[in-house]
């Protein structure tokens, strides 16, 4: 026997499953109107690809996925698109969202399908693509796009594939009936998943022991395969993904992590059937099994419903008696949400319509004082302390709440169920979570503003200092020029000396600084390095995107932080790319002469020439213009998202706000520049750091020319020592703060140390 692990807590609400199991699956037929919300899954809403008035066929894609975490929507019967508009959709918030409405023609005419004979011949990517195109999203209730969940990274080894047939919520029997009647399809789907995931150890189907018939059917269908049906005691909420994983493997998904982190992929049993149909027959997800039950239904049962079927149409089939019911629940009695209106459609995640009478599920009595009985803690499957969290939630002590792991709460409702004082605990947690998220977003925003302000302060100071330095340099250069009577640049080129020359070093250093480069790098090296930088940045960006996406899907608390990280990565990537481009351009413009000094100077000149005709004001204007464009675009997007009630609205709102701030800053800068236009223009010739560096270097070299060789060596040595010291401190700082410049700094330090050793040796020989 396989070892079954127990989860902490749990409750045993009355199961109430027999009512809907008296009959087999029945077809709900074709309703006159189908309403397809564009957002039936977690992630970005799909984008409509049909027009009003267009005739569509059954299975035709009518809205395409938008972005990675998204799923397309298909027409579930043939007919004409009558409108695309905002309607109430089944969602806890009672939101309005965009829906494609189809008037069915009753012909139920299929689009041409693209079945696969032998899926084992397909590439993983191809299979995933098919699953994605079929619009499959987790059918257990969460609605996470399956293709996303199944695209595990190549470097992650999945040893266990778990199929969730727990169905621990009372009343719901959609999965149960599926097991009884379509076990073969389930197993066929699991085999596809096995092929896709290649679990190295085991494939398990977890089922609670209150479904003996379903278990028997599954076992029979799985006969001869390496798929194991594991049965465990009934307890709510064993069917939570994390709980099921714990029951079957004893492993715990780390907080904030994914099942893949512990080598597990988990899929709902209904989803496997959808995947089977999508791959084997090319059928997209257009129908599902929905349980219609509750005492206000005279004919409870399970129906195969076309997605988009209005709830009232389906309820009628279940013998719904309106006058007996004041609460209509989509989902189960523990985690389902109430519908305000029966006109909403059945969507991909609709596993149950529960129409209880008042007696069956009476309205909650007023909450009494908490008697600290601990029954809530006893019931919590996550080992939280619901009672303490309740006090903190009431006191709005959000930090304490987070310390008590509020965000690990799966909102299963076991605590509320058990509480003798009828305290709606989960409601408090939901509200607190929302509030904390809001605060985090605001904090990120204000931190950005602060960082921007500080950066500006620093920049202004630096500019002042630079101006001063330039002024001095200019004076000196003028003096030297008068003395030498030569063009300094030409002189510099002619005198291009060995690397030990401090002036040369200074030039290089200046150049290096300009491009964020380490000193003494050949062009090829630099090119390679830049290319690599672009690559790494790209990779990091990818991983940040993935993480962000996961976090969004999982509703993780660190969402805000991830968003910032993602943004930073995007910027870095762009910067790296730009640098590479610039460099490539520069190298073509000024082919290498073999002399690094000349190169550097040439490059500097080229860069200066390129920028010289642009005044800072022009630059600022350009920036403002581009920001304005971006802002208007993102505002537009935000409006759209808000309209459609999309989950991305929040994210968009944030980024729009950020853009707005940026634009404000840019505008302010521009205003400042306009004010100080005249002086800036006057100083334009010296406003360029490259020029400045060159001048400085010239000056230094002039000074060096007067020194004896010994002195020169000594000076070089000193300067090298100083540089090594400086780099060391910088490196230490970087290491401490975990900055990503650590590697570069380390390289630089090593090179400098080598050089120093050499210089020492030389000095030693000479002395």
């Amino acid at each position: 026997m396989r070892k079954i692990f127990d989860i902490h807590g749990g409750v045993h609400p009355p199961e109430n499953k027999v009512q809907s199991l008296s009959r087999g699956i029945e077809s709900a037929g074709i309703p006159p109107v189908l309403v397809h919300p564009l957002s039936q899954h977690i992630g970005a809403p799909a984008t409509p690809i049909v027009e009003v008035g267009q005739r569509v066929l059954k299975g035709q894609m009518i809205a395409d996925a938008k972005g990675f975490v998204s799923a397309p929507v298909h027409a579930s019967s043939s007919g004409t698109v009558s409108t695309i508009e905002h309607r109430e959709i089944p969602h806890p918030s009672g939101l309005l969202a965009r829906c494609i409405v189809i008037d069915t023609d009753g012909k139920d005419e299929w689009i041409e399908l693209d079945p696969v004979e032998d899926y084992t011949a397909l590439e993983k990517a191809d299979l995933l693509h098919r699953i994605r195109d079929a619009g499959i999203a987790g059918m257990g209730g969460a609605g996470f796009p399956s293709a996303v969940k199944l695209s595990t990274r190549d470097d992650v080894v999945i040893d266990t594939l778990i199929i969730n047939g727990t169905e621990c919520e009372p009343y719901i029997t959609a999965d149960d009936i599926l097991m009884r009647e379509r076990a073969d399809q389930i197993i066929a789907g699991v085999k596809i998943l096995q092929h896709l995931i290649q679990p190295t150890k085991q494939t398990l189907i977890g089922v609670e022991d209150n479904k003996p018939e379903g278990i028997a059917a599954l076992r029979a269908a799985a006969e001869g395969s390496n798929i194991e049906v594991v049965v465990f005691p009934t307890k709510y909420p064993s069917g939570g993904e994390k709980q099921l994983i714990q029951i079957l493997t004893g492993r715990e998904v780390p907080s904030g992590g994914l099942p893949a982190d512990i080598g597990v992929v988990c899929q709902n049993i209904g989803t496997t059937v959808a995947i089977h149909r999508a791959v084997q027959y090319g059928e997209p997800l257009i129908s599902r099994i929905t349980t219609v039950t509750g005492e206000a239904c005279s004919a409870p049962g399970n129906f195969e419903v076309l997605l988009g079927t209005p709830v009232d149409y389906l309820l009628k089939l279940g013998g719904f008696q309106q006058d007996q019911c004041i609460r209509l629940v989509m989902g189960g009695p523990m985690m389902g949400f109430t519908l305000r209106d029966t006109a909403v459609p059945v969507v991909k995640t609709t596993n149950c319509l529960l129409a209880p009478t008042q007696k069956e599920l009476p309205p909650p009595p007023p909450a009494q004082a908490c008697i600290r009985c601990g029954m809530c803690a006893e019931a919590c499957p996550v080992s939280l302390l619901p009672q303490q969290m309740y006090w903190f939630a009431r006191g709005k002590e959000y930090e304490k709440l987070e310390e008590h792991n509020l965000f690990d709460c799966i909102e299963c409702g076991a605590c509320s169920y058990a509480c003798p004082s009828n305290i709606p605990l989960v409601q408090y947690y939901r509200a607190s979570k929302a509030e904390i998220r809001k605060q985090q977003q605001e904090k990120v925003k204000s931190e950005h503003a602060k960082a921007r302000f500080e950066a500006r302060q620093i920049r202004i100071e630096r500019e002042e200092a630079e101006k001063e330095a330039r002024r001095k340099a200019r004076q000196e250069a003028a003096k030297k020029k008068a003395a030498a009577g030569k063009d300094p640049i030409k002189a510099a080129q002619a005198k291009a000396a060995p690397a030990a020359d401090p002036a040369q070093a200074a030039i290089e250093k200046a150049m290096a600084k300009r491009s964020g480069n380490a000193p003494e790098e050949t062009n090829e090296e630099k090119l390679a390095r830049l290319k690599k930088a672009v690559e790494t940045a790209e990779k990091r960006l990818e991983s940040a995107t993935a993480k962000l996406k996961e976090a969004e899907a999982a509703d993780a608390p660190n969402l805000g932080a991830l968003q910032t990280a993602h943004e930073r990565m995007t910027e870095k990537f762009a910067k790296a790319k730009e640098e590479l481009q610039q460099f490539e351009q520069a190298s073509t413009e000024a082919p290498s002469t073999g002399d690094p000094a000349a190169d550097a100077i040439a490059r500097a000149q080229a860069a200066r020439a390129k920028n010289a005709d642009k005044s800072p004001r022009e630059k600022a204007e350009e920036q403002v213009a581009s920001l304005e464009k971006r802002l208007s675009k993102s505002e537009q997007k935000l409006a759209e998202a808000k309209e459609s009630g999309s989950e991305t609205a929040e994210v968009l709102e944030q980024s729009t706000a950020k853009l707005r701030d940026k634009l404000d800053a840019a505008r302010a800068e521009l205003a400042q520049l306009s004010e100080s236009e005249a002086p800036v223009a006057a100083a334009a010739s010296t406003n360029d750091p490259a020029q400045l560096a060159i001048e400085k270097a010239m000056a230094a070299r002039e000074a060096a020319a007067k020194l004896s060789p010994e002195d020169k060596a000594k000076k070089a040595l000193e300067s090298l020592e100083a540089r090594v010291e400086k780099t060391r401190t910088k490196l230490a700082e970087a290491e401490e703060s975990g900055a990503d410049t650590v590697d570069v700094l380390r390289d630089t330090l090593a090179k400098l140390e080598d050089k120093l050793a050499e210089a020492r040796k030389e000095a030693g020989v000479e002395g």
Partner: protein, 347 residues
């Protein structure tokens, strides 16, 4: 169509606070019956007057605090406090003792701390300890059990009369077995047993049966899952262990046998009706084990080496102090976390 929108879960468990309180009241019956049988109607008059006073005071203070009276009275917590105090006090205590006890229980220990759920100390035990310290004479004169004197135990009328005029009906009082044991320093336990008619087969006459009664009630509550086993069982185990270690075969210096301790005084009442008070105990299971065990240890220490013959009230109050600390250090490890909540904290 009017559909209501409410937040999940939509189902609710069978337990309600009022149910819990009713079950607790029900569970006291066997013990109360035994007390009445052996010590007369004094316990019942205690309970009756304590209950009336408690309800009256609760209603009054709710009114002063502008809270819905019916709603709160309905939770039954005042009643439970009153009945536990009534059981703990010497049978047929004078009315003013009861009044002072209830005043301190309901008004001071409960409502001045914010009412139900907010009180850090067990109200009944606060009332008891205040009385014990203020009126040591009345509080230690326990009527003698049946069979220990000629005549019958207090009837209902006698008990009532005694409640209202302490001097008019002279009930026979006797030292409790715990007292006797405490005073003893010359006799072997065996001889002590033989020479005192207060001792029965397990512990004291009457006391042993009252304890058995409360044990039964407690087991019933355990079965009904009103509380978990952790606190009461760990308290009983700690008491048993300590008394077994110091029993020394029954010398004159012996602290008494484990059986004696388990079935004497307020042991079982304490274990199943006081220690399990959810409001004032530790919350987590681990915390409750420690909480119960500490109470068991304290009971033994105070009984044998302290100044008071029985010690449940003091021990419970002392541990009420410690409960928040226990909660702090016994937070469970959350799913998916490596460390306990506390260890992540900076304070």
């Amino acid at each position: 169509m009017a559909l209501i929108t409410v937040s999940s879960p939509h189902a609710h468990g069978p337990m309600s606070t009022a149910t819990v309180m009713r079950l607790v009241l029900l569970a006291t019956l066997p013990g109360v019956f035994a007390l009445t049988y052996f010590f007369g109607f004094g316990t019942l008059t205690n309970i009756l007057f304590a209950a009336l006073l408690a309800l009256g005071m609760e209603a009054a203070i709710l009114k002063i605090r502008k809270r819905p009276i019916g709603f709160y009275l309905n939770d039954g917590s005042a009643l439970v406090t009153a009945i536990l105090l009534g059981i703990a006090l010497p049978p047929a205590s004078p009315w003013w003792i009861l009044a002072v006890g209830i005043l301190f229980s309901i008004v001071f220990a409960k409502h001045l701390y914010g009412g139900m759920g907010y009180n850090p100390f067990n109200p009944a035990m606060v009332g008891y300890v205040v009385l014990l310290i203020s009126f040591p004479v009345q509080m230690t004169s326990w009527v003698a059990p049946i069979g220990n004197f000629d005549g019958s135990v207090l009837g209902p009328i006698d008990a009532l009369v005694r409640t209202f005029s302490a001097s008019s009906v002279d009930a026979v009082t006797a030292a409790t077995p715990l007292d006797v044991l405490k005073q003893n320093n010359s006799l072997l336990i065996e001889d002590l047993w033989a020479s005192n008619s207060q001792f029965g087969s397990l512990a004291g006459v009457g006391w042993e049966w009252a304890n058995v009664g409360f044990l039964l009630g407690g087991l019933f509550l355990l079965y009904k899952r009103v509380f978990t086993w952790h606190a009461p069982i760990s308290m009983l185990i700690a008491l048993t262990l300590l008394s077994a270690i110091f029993y020394d075969g029954g010398s004159s210096a012996s602290g008494g046998s484990p059986m004696f301790h388990l079935f004497s005084g307020a042991t079982m009442l304490g274990a199943f009706f006081i220690v399990t008070d959810p409001v004032t105990s530790a919350v987590s299971n681990k915390g409750r084990i420690i909480y119960g065990a500490c109470i068991g240890v304290l009971i033994y220490l105070i009984r044998v080496w302290g100044n008071y013959p029985d010690a449940v009230a003091f021990s419970v109050l002392l541990m009420n102090f410690a409960a928040p600390l226990l909660d702090h250090y016994t937070q469970p490890r959350t799913y998916g976390h490596k460390k306990k909540t506390l260890q992540k904290e900076t304070d």
